[in-house]
């Protein structure tokens, strides 16, 4: 039986194995390639998307669990890149290779949605679940701070 959910405000119907992790449904079946595979075992955060507004690791979440859910991927955060987190990421020139950054941005935007003005320690803790092999950690932390300031305005 097909699984219906909403992805980036569009209704979709997935008629595939219900055990398929959301990550692969997005990438292989919905052609949403912004969400990345890094480990497949919920360790790196590269695959982070929002499920009903909550940052979630899509590599270990079967689509059977997202029936009727609202899913937001990096493509849906703000398609033209005007979300404060995206703007801050560009302004501070965070990306090196860029591969982990969709997951970082979805985690950061999720963090700021819950807590628009986090302390430095809350930023460090909130972002430490995401690996960046290039080591952009300092700029990630600074960019979350900058995005938080942008939200204030």
């Amino acid at each position: 039986m097909a699984i219906n959910c909403t992805v980036n405000k569009k209704k979709v119907s997935l008629d595939i194995d219900p055990n398929t992790p959301l990550l692969w449904a997005l990438r292989d079946h919905l052609s949403l390639l912004g969400t990345k595979y890094g480990c497949g075992i919920a360790q790196c955060g590269a695959c982070t998307v929002w499920v009903n507004g909550e940052p979630t690791r899509s590599c270990v979440l079967p689509i059977s669990a997202v029936s009727n859910a609202q899913i937001t991927t990096i493509e849906g955060l703000d398609p033209v890149g005007k979300h404060p987190v995206q703007v801050a990421w560009d302004e501070l020139d965070v990306p090196q290779c860029g591969y982990c950054q969709a997951g970082q941005i979805m985690t950061a935007a999720g963090l700021l949605k819950k807590n628009p003005h986090p302390s430095d320690q809350e930023i460090v803790d909130g972002m430490s679940g995401n690996i960046c092999r290039c080591g952009t950690y300092h700029r990630i932390q600074e960019a979350v701070k900058l995005a938080s300031k942008k939200i204030k305005k």
Partner: protein, 694 residues
């Protein structure tokens, strides 16, 4: 400055729409023809069309080192345009157009610095000439600013309006470059040209490649040293979404229409392996290190004076052994590649640091003429040297030729971590003989590497400052595949040497910074044998870092020093450690780098900070174990990567000397393990001899 014809394209046809003559390098791709038809391609690196659109082409693969931004910055500077005016495009592999299209060895800027400046300066001169002709004035009375030629009596013409006329002029053979005090872009903070696409999740990477009719595949590879005896394909072939199961070169490939279906099929496939000789385990490697240390077959890499005689006379002898395991590169984007092999042509696309060798290897393997093998370069989710080995390209091409379909071969994280071409494991033994004043009179190093080639860097400092030196290397062949890993060899040798020199300084009663400076003073006044580094540049980074980090001037702060020269750049570091709950914690690393002219300050800082974090993370945690030819761990749950809550403050400085730029993707890594280990020693009196520390 002479302009060589080689860098420039015959451009007479550019504005006429006749592209057949002199344009064989464009193959017969209609879409590319159109692009060229509407754009005045002045040379390999840039085009300016009559509407004023300026496009800069970046030839080298981008792995996160920032080359796609840095190269065009240099061209734009000499062209004298506003950075906001230009667009940057990744050029595909084109061996006729570009001389060096690869990423590795931190060598791109050193190679291309002259070339890039010439590419910009030449076209700037042509624009001025075109304007001078039009205004009937002397070209020397014209100036440029922000993509506009300015005439002596206030005339103005944009490059776009001059493009057609300029393109018809002869290419000047003499051009002059800007004085660096007039630089407007070089040395500033320029944001990555791909940032916008990255933050909006555009499909930029190899793993995102989608082509019509494409299928997916994963490949099961044998343990190191093993051969495939049999595998159970029949049931697997019937599983949903599975299109084929084929075997080649001891590997089994599962071809399917989606990743998850292939993963499911993989879980039910069993392979039987055999081997002629025992498969390698940790104990094999330990035994090989012991044997290699004793072997009389080590190669003498360097000999100055008489080490043995000098050691016999030494008042004090310091000795230490250091060891590092095989480690994986683990770029965030696992290996993958797309191939579409037809009877007599092939299209390859994806993340390789070395597209040209990929083209050649595929041409050789499949007997397809090299000019029929096309390579598209995608952005890469990191490389760290792993994508210098084209094994994954060849596999994809071979599989595509077998199944006769366009295919994207994807490696899981487990495949990537267990699939080889690792940083080689190595063991080092150092000995130093000191005289009564604590001066080093004798210095010995033997490196034993497993598939490491020469595991030493025999001409590197402190060699050149010591009268009696013996450096030996012993390489043991292993079935475990190895390859360059960010700062090859020096990524661990740098740690071992800098940690050892810290012990030597202590034994000789010297301050580690002062000891380095005294040794360098000796190299300057009276060098021993051949030296490959510039001692004055070494001195400068050392002095600056000592000042910036307030070496030994911060009461209660435990500091460790190191300095290393690699890829023609010099990096000195001071790490600081504090003890928290009985455990040492690295709180700060100050680094001073001399990589010559800094092209993009933002990118340069990223490289230095990234390399230090990389060096620290791997020094603390990384290790692969081997059991019967199989590497583990295979994923990030047990193979720990450094995380954002563990990184120290990093204070990155650059020497401002205007020397031609040298490498920066790697040089900040080798000194890192040493500065940290030496700071940990200062805090805890415990020395580290092995990586990982934890």
């Amino acid at each position: 400055m002479k302009t060589s014809r080689r860098d420039f394209i015959q451009k007479t046809a550019l504005f006429t729409g006749v592209f057949t003559l002199g344009f064989d390098w464009f193959s017969a791709d209609a879409s590319e023809m159109e692009v060229v038809a509407s754009a005045g391609r002045f040379n390999a690196f840039l085009s300016i069309d009559s509407l004023g659109k300026i496009t800069l082409f970046s030839p080298n693969p981008e792995i996160g080192q920032g080359i796609k931004t840095a190269f065009p910055v240099v061209v734009a500077e000499e062209l004298d345009v506003d950075w906001a005016q230009v667009q940057v495009e990744q050029a595909n592999l084109d061996t006729k157009l570009f001389e060096r299209q690869l990423t590795g060895g931190s060598g791109a800027l050193k190679h291309s610095w002259e070339r890039l400046r010439k590419a910009g300066a030449t076209v700037r001169k042509m624009m001025m000439q075109a304007a001078a002709d039009q205004w009937k004035v002397d070209v020397n009375s014209c100036k440029t600013s922000k993509g506009v030629v300015l005439g002596p009596s206030g005339q103005k013409a944009t490059y776009g309006s001059l493009a057609e006329a300029a393109s018809k002029l002869p290419i000047p053979t003499e051009v002059s470059f800007k004085d660096r005090k007039d630089y407007k872009i070089i040395g500033t903070r320029v944001k990555g040209v791909d940032n916008k696409n990255v933050v909006t999740g555009k499909p930029l990477f190899g793993i995102d490649i989608r082509k019509p009719g494409m299928v997916f595949a994963q490949i099961i590879r044998p343990p190191f040293g093993a051969t495939l005896k049999s595998f159970s394909a029949e049931d697997v072939k019937k599983m949903p979404g599975i299109l084929d199961v084929v075997s080649f070169k001891n590997k089994v490939a599962i071809v399917g229409s989606s990743t998850y279906e292939i993963l499911q099929a993989r879980a039910s496939l069993t392979c039987d392996y055999g081997s002629d000789s025992p498969l390698e385990s940790n104990s094999t490697h330990a035994k090989w290190f012991d044997e290699g240390m004793k072997s009389d077959k080590a190669q003498v890499m360097r000999k100055d004076g008489d080490f043995a005689a000098a050691l016999a006379k030494a008042v004090k002898v310091v000795e230490a052994t250091y060891e590092c395991p095989f480690i994986s590169h683990s770029p965030m984007e696992p290996m993958n590649f797309f191939a579409d092999v037809k009877k007599d042509s092939a299209l390859l696309a994806g993340p390789t640091q070395v597209p040209q060798p990929a083209q050649k290897a595929v041409s050789d393997l499949l007997k397809i003429p090299i000019d029929k093998v096309q390579v598209e370069i995608s952005k890469m989710g990191g490389g760290f040297g792993r994508r210098l080995n084209n094994d994954f390209v060849l596999e994809a091409a071979e599989l595509s030729s077998i199944i006769q379909k366009p295919v994207l071969v994807m490696w899981t994280r487990e495949d990537d971590m267990s699939g080889g071409t690792y940083r080689p494991a190595a063991r080092y033994h150092f000995k130093a003989g000191l005289d009564a004043n604590g001066e080093i009179t004798a210095f010995y190093l033997r490196g034993v590497g497993l598939n490491a080639g020469n595991s030493t860097r025999q001409d590197n400092f402190p060699v050149g400052a010591i009268e009696n030196v013996l450096i030996e290397s012993f390489d043991q062949k292993s079935a475990v595949t190895t390859g360059p890993w960010r700062a090859p060899i020096t990524n661990f040798l740098g740690f071992a040497e800098q940690a050892f020199l810290d012990e030597v300084a202590e034994a000789g009663g010297k301050d580690p910074v002062q000891m380095r400076l005294q040794l360098l003073a000796k190299v300057i006044s009276n060098p021993v044998g051949k030296i490959t580094y510039e001692p004055a540049r070494f001195e400068e980074v050392i002095k600056q870092v000592a000042e910036k980090a307030q070496w030994k001037k911060k009461p209660g702060v435990h500091q460790g020093f190191s300095v290393y020269y690699s890829h023609l750049s010099y990096v000195a570091q001071i790490a600081e450690v504090k003890v928290e709950n009985g455990k040492p914690k690295v709180t700060k690393v100050t680094a001073v780098t001399d990589c010559g002219e800094v092209i993009n300050l933002s990118g340069a800082e990223n490289q230095v900070k990234g390399a230090i974090i990389d060096g620290m993370g791997h020094a603390l945690y990384a290790k692969l174990n081997f059991q019967a030819g199989v590497a583990s761990p295979q994923n990030f749950n047990a193979y720990r990567m450094i995380r954002g809550n563990e990184v120290p403050v990093i204070d990155a400085h650059f020497v401002n000397n205007g020397i031609a730029p040298t490498g920066l993707g790697e040089p900040a890594l080798p000194p890192t393990g040493g500065s940290i280990a030496n700071a940990i020693y200062a805090a805890t009196k415990k020395r580290h001899y092995k990586q990982p520390f934890n």
